[in-house]
């Protein structure tokens, strides 16, 4: 049985929920009271993840932390077609890994500014915002050229990958960090495409696209 230690308003937890939705995997959810309860810093939770971070996945006793690691694991263990993960050619695999790293940068900038603005974490929000804006411009340019070549997703290939899943939440939540996506039209179109992938689920702050 898969168990997800989850916080509804966390973009990182949302990455795992998206993956579980796309793969149609039944699972149990343990809600961890990140805000306002700070339950992720409790002794009970630190025993599960000494880093005190969400999400954590428990697959029949195999316990894994870190959203990127969990996405990689689920793609290897539970995606028989190998469509989402590192099942393609070397060029695709390299790009997926590259954009997974980029997703961590998004968490460290847009995610951080969001934690400051919405949940009052003590962070240099303006520096985080400036960093987030730089990343959005890079992503928008990449997606514009992907469209130009008839490619819909971050990595090459006809099917979205875990890189799209990893980069989606904090770009979709950019407004929470006071970053406007009006200047990133290619990102907005990529969001619309991503929301129409069968199995897509929403989180608070993200609206569905409908058909």
């Amino acid at each position: 049985m898969l168990t997800l230690y989850d916080y509804e308003l966390s973009g990182s937890c949302y990455k795992v929920r998206l993956m579980l939705g796309f793969l149609g995997l039944p699972h149990e959810t343990r809600h961890v009271d990140f805000h306002p309860g700070r339950e992720h810093k409790s002794d009970a939770f630190l025993a599960i993840n000494p880093l005190g971070q969400l999400p954590v996945l428990d697959d029949d006793g195999y316990v894994l932390r870190d959203a990127n690691a969990i996405l990689t694991y689920l793609a290897s263990a539970h995606d028989p077609g190998g469509r989402w993960g590192f099942g393609g050619d070397a060029a695709r695999n390299g790009r997926i890994a590259e954009w997974l790293g980029f997703a961590s940068d998004l968490t460290g900038t847009i995610g951080a500014a969001r934690l400051h603005d919405a949940f009052f974490h003590d962070i240099d929000a303006d520096a985080a915002r400036a960093g987030g804006k730089r990343l959005l411009r890079i992503l928008d340019e990449h997606l514009w050229f992907q469209e130009r070549q008839g490619a819909a997703w971050l990595a090459p290939g006809d099917h979205p990958s875990i890189a799209d899943i990893a980069c989606f939440p904090y770009t979709a939540l950019a407004q929470d960090a006071d970053l406007d996506l009006a200047d990133c039209p290619a990102i907005r179109r990529w969001h619309d495409r991503f929301k129409r992938v069968p199995g897509f689920t929403v989180m608070p702050g993200v609206f569905p696209a409908r058909e």
């Binding site: 340019e141 009006a182 696209a209």
Partner: protein, 550 residues
């Protein structure tokens, strides 16, 4: 805050390729935000980025192909006109026709979408641009437009690339470039320019400059009639429409396609009808058959009624393609709920027309419905091509005698399922039978929706009575043979009317006090029993005096 030149200048606001299907694009001119979206028919809409219900940006809404849906309360706005077509909080009501979002003129040319804050498409003055140029990747820059223009001229000159700077706001711009010729391999060229412009952007943004205050959005006040709770307003036959096509759609039924002489038709809702002023002086009501994806011209179906007063024969015989008719804006007294779990349409003969518009609406929205079309013969069934487009949801019942019709209606209507809605339209005996069956099977009035084309009940206008108009503080007499509409009109109070026989529902008036002699076929029995409204064209006081909410 904005000057005339800023308002009237045409600005590039998007690349054509930006407006992909089922997407809403965010644009701006001088601090005024635009929601840009391409409908499935290719039309580009440029609207103020604000739903006028509660101010929510439409760029977070959904492009449904022929309508734009606001994310907050699901209000739908029509392609082209931006008229509100549906308010989910009040599914039984037709939205006031005049609820319209603000529309900006927009045209698509040279691979770019252009818009202005004021002006008309016809008067669009656009710069000369290469016809088949290569549109570069636009690059937003957080720097005032004039500075960006100067920097572009100094850095790259104007020979190779035609530069356009979109003034997003006082301190924000978008660099748009068009290359005169299509290179053999565009991709490396596009990459090179994207990189160059990116470097220019970084350099310009790094220059020290005092902060520039954004231009506040102009907030236009809505029509006073909408500031209160909406009521339908009066409407004359103010539109001029050209008969673009006239063609037979069944035995004795002719269809007319009515197109605007210029501009767009007003928004309409499924179930709406129009008044058509005929060359022989008569006015007749016809339902629109159009779906929400079909808004360029209206299509009505007219059945020849040789025994009638000459309205239909005039349309059949005298009106030709190319003729211009005077037509009223659409009015909807037969609104379609979209919150039913199943909607049942039952159409008798030409009564199919308003139901066709409704079924097309649900079909596009992928909401569940069944459509039952009754006709004397296959040749008598109108708009077969449209019915075919609705696919499996349609069942045809051809050539049934009255007894077989009743039996079939019994079988179709059955007992009401949870949140099932029934819509019936057709000849009076057919409609009466369907309503009687629904009532006998226990359907509540509120779930049975109907529209009579005419009122064939006997009417009696022989009594005299008094009406008091509560809001106008006026008491007046209604003489025998005179209607309430006529009596109050003599005192300068205008009640909008359409059919003048108690069928269409346009002249509904609130009743505060008094016993009503209902003589219409529009209201349901429970609405009549409630006694809080009447059809002023035919209904009267049962005794003594009526107090009206006028």
């Amino acid at each position: 805050m904005l000057n005339d030149e800023q308002r009237r200048a045409w600005q590039p606001v998007a690349s054509s390729t930006d407006l992909v299907a089922r997407h809403v694009f965010a644009g701006a001119i001088w601090g005024q935000e635009l929601a840009l979206w391409r409908a499935d028919d290719g039309h580009v809409n440029a609207w103020e980025n604000r739903c006028l219900h509660r101010g929510v940006r439409l760029t977070i809404g959904v492009n449904l192909g022929s309508e734009l849906m606001c994310q907050y309360h699901g209000w739908r706005y029509a392609n082209r006109t931006a008229g509100c077509t549906y308010i989910p909080a009040h599914p039984a009501d037709a939205p006031a026709r005049t609820i319209c979002n603000r529309v900006y003129p927009a045209v698509e040319r040279h691979g770019l979408v252009w818009a202005a804050l004021e002006g008309t498409v016809e008067g669009a003055a656009l710069p000369e641009l290469p016809m088949d140029g290569l549109v570069l990747r636009p690059v937003p820059v957080d720097v005032p437009p004039a500075e960006v223009e100067a920097a572009l001229a100094a850095e790259f000159g104007r020979d190779r690339v035609r530069w356009l700077v979109q003034p997003v706001d006082a301190g924000r711009s978008i660099i748009r470039g068009v290359l005169a010729e299509q290179p053999a391999e565009p991709l490396p060229v596009l990459r090179r320019w994207s990189a160059r412009l990116g470097r220019l952007r970084d350099r310009l943004e790094a220059l020290p400059r005092p902060p520039v205050a954004p231009i506040p959005p102009e907030l236009h006040r809505v029509d006073p009639a909408l500031a209160g709770l909406p009521e339908p307003g009066p409407a004359g036959t103010s539109l001029r429409l050209r008969v673009a096509r006239k063609w037979p759609v069944a035995e004795d039924v002719t269809a007319f396609r009515l197109a605007p002489l210029a501009g767009e038709l007003p928004a309409f809702q499924p179930g709406a009808h129009i008044d058509v002023a005929l060359p022989n002086g008569l006015t007749r009501q016809y339902s629109l058959t159009n779906g929400p994806d079909d808004t360029a011209a209206w299509v009505i179906g007219v059945k020849r009624e040789p025994a009638g007063l000459g309205g239909s024969t005039c349309l059949h015989d005298a009106v030709r393609e190319g003729d211009v008719l005077a037509v009223s804006p659409p009015r909807n007294n037969f609104p379609l709920r979209r919150d039913g779990l199943l909607t049942l349409f039952i159409a008798g003969g030409i009564g199919l027309t308003p139901l066709l518009a409704m079924a097309r609406t649900l079909h596009l929205a992928r909401l569940p419905y069944h459509f039952h079309a009754f006709a004397r013969s296959v040749a008598h069934l109108p708009f077969v091509d449209v019915l075919d487009g609705l696919g499996d949801a349609v069942e045809r019942h051809i050539g049934l005698d009255p007894a077989a019709t009743t039996a079939k209606l019994e079988a179709i209507i059955g007992t009401q399922g949870e949140k099932h809605e029934l819509y019936v339209c057709g000849p009076t005996p057919f409609l009466d039978a369907a309503r009687a069956i629904a009532a006998a099977k226990g359907w509540p009035d509120t779930a049975v929706h109907f529209e009579y084309f005419k009122n064939e009940r006997p009417r009696d206008a022989s009594n005299a009575f008094e009406v008091a108009l509560a809001r106008s503080a006026l008491t007046l007499d209604v003489a025998p043979g005179q209607s309430i509409v006529e009596a109050v009109a003599a005192h300068g109070i205008h009640i909008p009317t359409s059919c003048a026989q108690g069928a269409c529902g346009t002249c509904r008036v609130g009743v505060i006090e008094g016993a009503i002699d209902h003589q219409d076929v529009h209201l349901t029995p429970s609405e009549k029993a409630r006694g809080d409204c009447l059809m002023a064209c035919v209904s009267r006081a049962a005794a003594g005096r009526l107090v009206l909410d006028l």
